[in-house]
Amino acid sequence: MLGMSANSVSYNEQGSVESGVDAAQENSNISGGGGGGAAFSLFSADCKKNEDLKEMLENNKESLKLEAMKRIVGLIAKGKNASELFPAVVKNVASKNIELKKLVYVYLVRYAEEQQDLALLSISTFQRALKDPNQLIRASALRVLSSIRVPIIVPIMMLAIKESSTDLSPYVRKTAAHAIQKLYSLDPDQKEHLIEVIEKLLKDKSTLVAGSVVMAFEEVCPDRIDLIHKNYRKLCNMLVDVEEWGQVVIIHMLTRYARTQFVSPWGEDAVFDENNEKTFYDSEEERRADESKPYVMDPDHRLLLRNTKPLLQSRNTAVVMAVSQLYWHLAPKHEISIVTKSLVRLLRSHREVQYVVLQNIATMSIQRKGMFEPFMKSFYVRSTDATHIKTLKLEILTNLANEANISTILREFQTYVKSQDKAFAAATIQAIGRCATDISEVTDTCLNGLVLLLSNRDETVVAESVVVIKKLLQTQPSQHSDIIKHMAKLFDNITVPMARASILWLMGEYCEHVPKIAPDVLRKMAKTFTSEEDIVKLQIVNLAAKLYLTNSKQTKLLTQYILNLGKYDQNYDIRDRTRFIRQLIVPNEKSGALSKYARRILMAPKPAPVLQSAFKDRDRYQLGTLSHSLNSYATGYLELSNWPPVAPDQSVRNVEVVEPVTEALASALGKSKHAKSDEKFYSGSEEEEEEEEEEGSSSEDSSSSSGESESESKSEENSDDSNKSSSSQSEKSSSESDTDKKKTQKNKKLHQQKPASKDRKLKNGKAANDESRSGSESDSESSSSESSSESGSQSELDSNSDSGTDQKRKTKSKPVQSKPVTNAEKKEVSLLDLDDFSPVPVSTPKSSILSPSLLSDLQGLSISSSASALQASSPVFVPETSHELLHRMTGKGLSAQYRFTRQPCIYGNSMVSLQLTLSNNSEQALENIHISEKSSSGQNIHRFSAIERLEPQASATVSMGVDFNDSTQAAHFQLCTKEDEFSVSIQPAVGELLLPITMSEADFTKEQGKLVGMNESSATITTTPENISSQSVNRNVVSAANLGVIPSNQENIHRFAGKTVSSGSLVLVSVAPKDPDALITVNTEKSVIASMLLRQFKTALTNITP
C-alpha cells in the first residue's frame, strides 16, 4: 500500500518534468498522493513545479493565485520546503481575497523566520490592517504580525500589542494577550513592558480575554502574584462563563495563588475527625496544626471553592481534572470527596484520558482510601484495556485494599493472574505481594496462593512469584520452612536468573530452617556454577559462605571448590566477592579480627523490604500536571508553595465591583440583547446584575431582574447552608456563610445606589482609588458609608490622582491613534518607515530593502488590483484646534470643547467621531454629566457614558459619535449635569464629514472619469507662489478637509481622495496650479458637499500665508 502510493507520486512527478502537466492534474497529484513520496521527488521536478507555482502567483487571476497557494499549503503540510517561493507569495499579502490572504498568512508564519528580510515587506500591510474597522481583520493582522519571529520588528510588535490591548473588541484584546507570550519568547528583554500590558489586561472584564491573559501571566511573570490580588474575586466570579480552555488555566493559577494567600484548612480537619470518631477521611499525614485556635476559612478561599464546584460537571475532562486538583490541594479534607464521582466519570472517556486520570487517582488513593473505595468496582480490569491502563487500575485496587474488601480484591486478582498479557499477570503478582504485607490477615492466604503459582507454566509468572515470596518470607521466615522446601524442589525447573538467585538467597538466609536441603542445593549449584548467570553466581558464593559458617562439617569442601571456581571467573565482581568471602570466613594468620565477626556480618538479621506503591511520592507534584504524569520535573513546572503559617493581608483583594468595560462596545457591535438577559442563569454573581441595571431600558425591568437574582443568590446561600449542616459542620460553617451573606448584600446595595455612575468610574480606571477606599472598609461597615457622602478629604485625594492618571492615559493612548501628531514618536520605534499610513504607499526608505524588481512588482500589484483601490487610510493630518461647545459662563462652571479626531468612529460606520473635553471650572464637584436622551435633533448620536462625578478644576475627556448624514447641519443636544441642562450644538465643517482614502493615481483618474458633468465642480483661484508650492497645497488641503493624499507623478497637480462618512460617496479633489492661478476641481456625487468644499479650499489656499 505504502509502496504503491510512493510509486504513483514518483510517476506523476516525472510526468510533470516531461510534459508540464496542467494545473488541475498537478493539484490532484498533490492532494491525492501519498505522504511517503517525499523522498522520491527529484530535484529538477521540484524546481520545475515551483517555477509554475511562481507563475501562477504572478498571474493576475485570483483563482490561479488561490490555487497556487493551496498547493503550497499542501507542500507545507507535508513538511516539504517551499521557502524559495517567498518573494512571490509575500506580494499577495495585501490581497482582498480573504482566503488567499489567510493562506499567505499561513505561509508567512511558517517561513518568515528563515527569510527575515523579505518578511519585512509584509509588515506595513499588517500595520495598516491593525487599523481596519473589521475586528476580525485587526485580530488576524495582530496574530500574524506577532507570529513572525523576526527580532527586528520587536518594537513594532510591542507597539501593536499595546494598542490592541486597549482595543474595543474583546476578541482583539484576546489576540493581544496571546501576542504577549509570543513577543516574550522572541525577546525576553521586553518583560517589564509586557507585564504592564498584562496588568492592564488582567483588569479586563471580558470573559473572552480572561483565560488568555492568565495564560500570558503564567508564562511571563508567574511570580508576580501581586497582580492577581485585585482581580482575584473577579476571576472567581467570572470563571463559570469563561471558555473551557481558559477555565483550566485560571484554575491552575488560582490554585497556586490560594496556596500563598490562605492558611491551611486541614488543621480543622483533625478536630472534625475526632468529633466523628470515624476514620473515613483520615489521612496518614494529618497536619495537626494549631488545634487550639478554631479555624475560620477566609471568605475568598470559600468563594473559590464554591465557584469552581459547578465546573465538575463540565464536559471538558481537563476542566474536571483541574477542579479536582484544586479541591485536592485547597479544600478542607472532608470536602475533597465531592470530586470522586466526577473523576470516576472521566474513566468512561478515551484511553488517553483514562491514563492521566488513573494516574491522579492512584496518587490520591494512597493518601485517602476512603475517597474511592465505594467506586472500587469501577477500577476492575477488562481484558480489552491497554496494558498501561491495566497496571494503573491494579495499582489503585491495591491502594484501596483493606481488611473489609481484601477478599473481593483477591478474587478479582485471581482472574488477572491468568491473563494472557503476561506483563500484567506479573504486575498482579506484585500487587498480591503488596496486599499481603499491608494487610496481615491475608498474608498467609496470599502466600499460599503465590506458592501455587510457582507451578505455573509461564516463566515470568513463576519468577515474579518467587521474587515476591522471597520478600514476603523475610517478614516471618520461621513459620515458612515448608515453602522454602517447596521452592527448593522447584529450583531445577526455574530458569529465570532473578528467580533462581532469589531462591538461593532464601536458602542461605534461612539455612538453619532447612538444614538438610540447603547443602544439597549447594552441591547441585557447584556442578552448574560455570554456566549460571552472574547474579546467580553471586548468590551461590553467598550461600556457600553462609553454609560454611553454619554447617562447615558438610560443606567445607564444597565451599572451597566454589570459591576456587569464583576466583577465576571472568566477571570481576564475582572474583572480588570470592576474594572477600574467602578472607572473611576461612581463618588464617593474616585474616585478623574481622573473621571473628564473620558470622555476625553475614548472618545479621536483615530488615524486611517494604513493598510500596510506585505512586507513593508522586504527591510532591501538583496533581494534574505534566510533571505528575511523568514523575519528574518538567520544564516550567511551578512549585505549589506550602500554606503560609499566618494568612497574608486579606484586604489586598478588596476591590469595588465594577462592571464590564465592554458595555459601550457591546451595544455598538450589536451584541444580542437576549444574550444579556440570559446571563443571570449562568452565574448568579453581581456582575450580571449590573449589566442589567445599566442596560435597563425600563426601570421596572431592572428592578425585577435584580429582585430575581437576589432571590436566586439567597437560594444559593440556603443550599450552601444546608450543604454544610449536612456535612455536620455546625458552628463554623454558619458563621462563615453569614459573613458571606453580609458581603453579597452589601455589594448589592452598592450597585443599586449608583448604577449609572459606574461607567465613568471605570473609564478613570479607579483601581487605586478603590483600593484605598475599600481598604478602610471593614465587614461591619454599613453600606451607606460607601455612598456619595464619602469624607471630603479622601474623595479629593481620589479625584486628583484620578484625573492625573486619567490624563496621562489619554495622552498615552491618543497619539497612538492619531498618526501625524506623533510621527516623531513613531519614528523612533519603527524601523521601517511607517509612512505607509499616509497615503504614499511606496516611499523611498523601503527601497533599501527591496530589490528594484520587487519594488516594481509591488507597485504593479497595487495598481492592478482594483479592489485595493478604495482602502480607507488613516488621516494625514489631525487638527489640534478644538471648538467651543459650552462656555463656562453659560454652563455654570461646566465648560466643554470638542474636537474632530478624524478617526473612523468606533460606534458606528456612518458616524463622525468627536472628542469632548469637559472641565469643571466651578467650586463644586459636578455630578452625573451626560447627554440627555430626548434632545437629539434628528441626527443619530452615540452618547458618551455618563461621568459620575467631576471634581472642581478637573477635566475629563470622552468620545462620542454623531451621524451628520453628510450634511453640515448642526447637531443639537442637551448636555446635562445633575442639576442643569444646557442646549449645545456641534456644527461640523464640511471637511470633517470625510474620511481619507488611499488609491493609486490610475484609480484616481479612472474614478474621476466616472464623476464628470453634474458631479464635477471647479473653481480657479489666484494665489501666491508660496501658497502654491506642493507642500503648502498639501498641507492646506488636508487641514481643511480630512482627505488622503494621492501620490502623483506629475509635478504640478495635486490629488486628494476621501469618502463621505455616512454614505461613503467618493470625493476626489485635484489642485492644478497654473501660475499664478490654480484650478481646483472637486468630483463627487454629493454636489452640496462639492460646492462647500470648493469654497473652503478657496479660502484655505488663498488666505493663508505660510
Partner: protein
C-alpha cells in the same frame, strides 16, 4: 502550550505537520516511533512520552496518531482533550476522520488548525463558530466556488465569538422548527463465568438535534430525575437550575450536539438484557479446542434485542475455527485472532448457538485462560435505567416546534469472563 502537531498513520508515515510556534524538526517523532515499536499494539503506546528536550503527548484515533509536541509544563489532559476535539472537528467537517480525507482536504484542515489554536493556546473550538469562519466543504459549494471564485472563508468575526453563548450563532432561521432528543444508554458490565454480575453500571447520554429559529430557550424535565447519579452538561445548560429544580434549562446550539451525559452507578440494580452460556475448552493433546456459545434474553422489558454481536479475542495459539452458527454469520480473523459472531435479532423462541472446534498451533502449550466474550447489542425504544423524559417547554420564541424523544439501549463495555 501546544508547539506542533504531527499526524502519523498506523504504518508510521508522517503525513501532516503543523507548527504554531517556531518549527520543530520532524525528527522529534523518532522518539515516538521508538515507543510505538516497543508498545507492539497501537493502543499500548503511552500517551505521554518524554524526550530530552520535548514532551510528546499523543492520542490514537481512527487509525491515526495525533502527536503533539510540548515544551513546557501543561496539564496533559488539556492537550489530550484538545487533540480529541481536533479529531471531532474533522469528523464534523468531513463526515469521517481518516488519513485519506485529511489528505484530500489538506487546505481546509490547515485553515482549521490555524483557527483552532493561536500560539498553541485554543482559540476557537466551538463547531458553530468554526463553521462561520471556515465553511465545511460540500459538493455544491465547491462547484459554486470554482465558478464564482468565492471562498470558503468567512470575512467577519462570528457573532458567537463575542457573546456569552458562543455555541449559538445569531440569526438562525428554519421553516420547520424541530427538536429531537435521543436518550442513549450503554450498559457497562462484567459478568463472571457463572453469569453473575461482577460489576454493572449505566452510562447515558442525551444527544440532541435542535433546528429552531431565533433564540429558543428550552427546558427539558424528567419523570424521574433522581435516577441520575452523576451528570455532565454541555456548556449551554444552566447548572444552577439543575441543582435547584432538577430540570435542564438551556439555549441550544444550532444543529447536533450532546446535551448531557449521566451515570447511573453500580449501587442501583442494573438490568442485564442477555445471558450467555458458554463453554470454551482447549485440550492438552491434539492441539484443538471446543467452543459452544448460546445467547438468550434475560431482562429485556419485553423489547427485542437487535444487532447482537459477540466478539472473542482468542489466544495467540488458535490458528483457525471450524464452527457452525444456527443464526447469523461468524468470521475468524487468524491475524488479529478475533472471532466475530454477528447474530442480528435475538429470537427468544429459537436461541442462537455457535458451536464447533478450534485448531491450535501444534506443539504450543494450551492457553491457560479462556478468552473473554465482548457483547454488543441494541434495544430500541428502551432506556434500561427507566429514565423518562417528561416534557420539553420552549420560551422566548412564538412558534410551536415539533418535538420528539427516542430511547435506545446499547451494550457498552459488556464483557463476559470465561
Amino acid at each position: 502550550m501546544i508547539h506542533s502537531l504531527f499526524l502519523i498513520n498506523n504504518g508510521g508515515d508522517l503525513f501532516l505537520e503543523k507548527h504554531w510556534k517556531s518549527v520543530i524538526s520532524r525528527s522529534v517523532c523518532d522518539y515516538f516511533f521508538e515507543a510505538r515499536e516497543k508498545a507492539v499494539e497501537p493502543d499500548n503506546v503511552p500517551p505521554v512520552i518524554r524526550t530530552p528536550h520535548h514532551y510528546l503527548i499523543n492520542i490514537y484515533r481512527e487509525k491515526i496518531f495525533f502527536v503533539s509536541v510540548i515544551q513546557t509544563e501543561v496539564p496533559p489532559l488539556f492537550v489530550i482533550e484538545f487533540l480529541h476535539r481536533i479529531a471531532e472537528t474533522f469528523q464534523d467537517y468531513f463526515g469521517e476522520c481518516s488519513e485519506t480525507i485529511i489528505k484530500d482536504n489538506v487546505v481546509i484542515v490547515y485553515e482549521l488548525l490555524e483557527e483552532m489554536l493561536d500560539n498553541g493556546f485554543p482559540l476557537a473550538t466551538e463547531s458553530n463558530i468554526l463553521k462561520e469562519l471556515i465553511r465545511p466543504p460540500t459538493i455544491l459549494r465547491s462547484m459554486v466556488n470554482t465558478i464564482t471564485g468565492s471562498s470558503n472563508v468567512g470575512e467577519t468575526l462570528p457573532t458567537g465569538q463575542l457573546s456569552t453563548i458562543p455555541w449559538r450563532r445569531a440569526g438562525v432561521k428554519y421553516t420547520n422548527n424541530e427538536a429531537y432528543f435521543d436518550v442513549v444508554e450503554e450498559i457497562d458490565a462484567i459478568l463472571d463465568k457463572s453469569g453473575t454480575t461482577v460489576f454493572a453500571e449505566i452510562q447515558g447520554v442525551i444527544d440532541a438535534c435542535v433546528k429552531m429559529s431565533g433564540m429558543p430557550d428550552l427546558t427539558l424535565s424528567f419523570m424521574n430525575p433522581r435516577l441520575l447519579d452523576d451528570v455532565s452538561f454541555h456548556p449551554c445548560v444552566r447548572y444552577k437550575r439543575w441543582e435547584s429544580e432538577r430540570v435542564i434549562s438551556f439555549i441550544p446550539p444550532d444543529g447536533n450536539f450532546q446535551l448531557m451525559s449521566y451515570h447511573i452507578s453500580a449501587q442501583n440494580l442494573v438490568a442485564i438484557p442477555v445471558y450467555v452460556k458458554q463453554n470454551i475448552s482447549f485440550f492438552e493433546t491434539g492441539s484443538s479446542g471446543r467452543l459452544d456459545i448460546t445467547v438468550g434474553p434475560k431482562q429485556t422489558m419485553g423489547k427485542t434485542v437487535e444487532c447482537l454481536v459477540v466478539t472473542v479475542h482468542m489466544p495467540k495459539v488458535v490458528l483457525s475455527a471450524n464452527l457452525n452458527a444456527t443464526q447469523g454469520t461468524y468470521n475468524y480473523d487468524p491475524v488479529t485472532k478475533i472471532l466475530l459472531w454477528d447474530i442480528g435479532k435475538l429470537n427468544p423462541q429459537k436461541l442462537p448457538n455457535l458451536k464447533g472446534s478450534l485448531s491450535l498451533q501444534s506443539g504450543a502449550p494450551k492457553p491457560e485462560e479462556n478468552p473473554s466474550l465482548n457483547i454488543d447489542l441494541k434495544i430500541q425504544q428502551l432506556a434500561i435505567s427507566g429514565l423518562k423524559v417528561n416534557r420539553l417547554d420552549m420560551y422566548g420564541e412564538k412558534y410551536k416546534p415539533f418535538k420528539g424523544v427516542k430511547y435506545v439501549t446499547k451494550a457498552g463495555k459488556f464483557q463476559v469472563r470465561t
